[in-house]
Amino acid sequence: MILLPTLLLTLAAIASPVHLSSEQQVAVLQEAQTAYELGIELQTSDPVASKEAFRRSANRFNVLVNDGIENGKLWYDLGNAQLQSGEIGESIAAYLSAKRYIPSDGRVEANLEYARSSITHPITGESSTSMLKRLAFWHTSLPTQVRLALGLTIWCSFWACVTIRLFRVIPGFKTVTIMLGLSAMAFGVSVGADIADQYQGHGVLTAQEVIVRKGNGLNYDAMFKEPIHEGIEFKILGRRSNWLHIQLPNGVEGWIEKDNAQIVTLSSESKKHS
């Protein structure tokens, strides 16, 4: 008698995704934080139970992210719980997602570096940065919302200048309006790219050892003699069914199974389907 309604409830939950109410979100957040604190307490006395507590905490933070709540601090906390439970790849992906919301946050940067230092055999690329990237530093260093606010302000200023010019002559009007117009356009493109792309062009290996292949199938030869390890970041060049065409930091390209990696994304929906 109890089993039937429970099963029906479960089926109903599967059939239509239900979002958490605000009270439930608060409860899940508290569970996540409590589990994290427990993990810290047990870290020295019972490492196994501690790891389990961190895993439970990461699971609860993930519930919130999958429910559509996305902000830099939540991604950061999720990354911490995953790192403490030994999931280096997942934690790096979470920190990268956090960076998009709070790119200049010192904690995110520090923990991301620590997670990267835990990679067994890291692959490093050339550290030189292209001129275009240097010029567009603001794109990566400012949060999307800040760029949006700046862009809107400059956009309004541009039109305010044009409007004033209708009534009176402004010295240097052309220079000012051209600069304001170009700046507004740059911020617009930057924000638009974020909204459209959702930063899905990058990923992180989450399996402990991954064989990079020369093609999108198990029949293709391995690219390297040795497998590459969890936590290595890569650029996604393309996708075919269950395979990702990737470029490693050292420039080498190859194919990996999608299940062995996590795509860095700002969208919970994309993350679930990735």
């Binding site: 020295t44 006395s45 196994v48 939540l74 999307t144 009534f167």
Partner: protein, 571 residues
Amino acid sequence: MRMKLFFTIAITLALFVSNVSSQEVLVDMPQQQGYVGIPLRLVVVYKNVTTDNEPSMPAIDGFTITKRGGTETSSQTTFINGKVTSSSTSKHTFFLTPQRLGELTIPALTFIADGKAFQSSERVIRVIETPTSGALKAEITGTNGDVYLGQPVDLTLRIFIEQYVDKALNIELDANNMFSTLRANSTFGVFTEALQDGRAQVQQVRGTTTEGIPATFFVYEVQATAWPETTGSLFLDPVSIVSEYPLSLAQRRSTGFFGGDSLFIDQSQLIIALPEVPAITVLTPPEQGRPDWYTGAVGSFTFRVAAQPTEVNVGEPITLTMRITDTSSGPVNLDYLSAPSLDRVPALTQSFKVPDKPLGGTVQGRTKTFTTTIRARKAGVTEIPALPMSSFNPTAEQFETMWTNPIPITVHAVDTVTASDLIGGTPSQTEHSTEHQTEVAGGILANYIGDDLLLSQTTEWSPSLLASIALPPFACSCLAFGIFIRKQSRSEVAVTKYKRRKAIKTIRTLATSGNANQAQQVAKALRALDSESSSNAELTKLLQRCDASQFGGAKDITLAQDANEFVESYA
């Protein structure tokens, strides 16, 4: 609340329907035939039996019995259609070595576990004489002398197989063919994994048989590393190599033993090689000179410690992260490496409360990381003293101790040190000062807390965003259009006024001065005065008088004067 209730019901149901598989004890020994002196493997499998007691084997007539150290354990939990099934297995391996020929009986064995008795069935093993031949030899060489617990033992297995030459068919079997004559019931002990990974190397050497006849031998060499788990004589799984050595070959048309070449072994002889494991004793490091904090590390290591935070109140925890890296060459196994016993370091314990429980660490590559927390006992402590990590150097046969640098810290006094301060209560707020701060590299920083964790920061194409973008240009365009319209209308009025002013001026001039073309000029000025004034009767009359004067030839002396009066009244 509803979510909690739902989860509670689900978990209760899951527990209700969960099932633990039935308990049993099995004896796994597939062989029915053996050879004198060659160990047979017997595995006792405990399924879903919880016991700390290892099974013991009674003496069995005709066999000598040895037990392999360690136990293989595994457990699994499966969820199928909401049904939870858990099972666990532990395997204990024994080696039974037949000592005489004939049929030897292994009686029914009884094992006691979980308060129950489990009994196996009786079985009979037929033991035959061990065939030997000079065509197959094997030897194990390795670390000479004794090793210390924690040190690896490097071993090398060499198998010598005489190359078979069939003089009748004039065929020499190659290294692969000869290796394939080894039977599946050969046991390779610690070398099994290396052979499965294909790490064997083969070379061809010239030698002589036991009869002194020159012959060619294939030497298969494989290396492996063993990690002793206990002190005393090193026990390794026995190695026995069994070969179906060919005596003659034959040819046939169909695919034979050697694949496409249609060759197969016509007659063969069973031969066995039993290499002896070198006698190695596993020692513990000596008591003399052993530091108090020594916990069994053997080899050479580096030791680094980081502390966080470095400014605390009395009783607040300071997390110490200790990283021990093995700097020796060759393979490493840090599973048995323990953290130094910091509770036995007087310089630390006199100022700090230090846990005395053993620490579990995490291994990554050649580094093992341990974390622990210490708590300052009193205010005014200015540093965490240098911490030691000792290891035993087996080459120099002495202990070596590495010391870290002292870490400066600041410990503030608290009004009352409560029990929670000492056992891990919520840390109180610390007054931060900029003095004596030392930044420690590594470790992760704390989580964020607060309600803003639940606020979404996503940016989307919302109607308000689109309105914010579209409104400024739209407003500016509207304003510009208004200005344009206004300017346009203003210019038309001005033109009309100008024309009027000019017409009035012309007519006034003509009224005071005579002119031959007076009628024509007055008409032009009147028409310019108001092009839409045709409805005005007086103006129409004046224009008719202009036409009459201009085209009828009648001179109208008062025309200019009347036009001027009209203009004055019009203006």
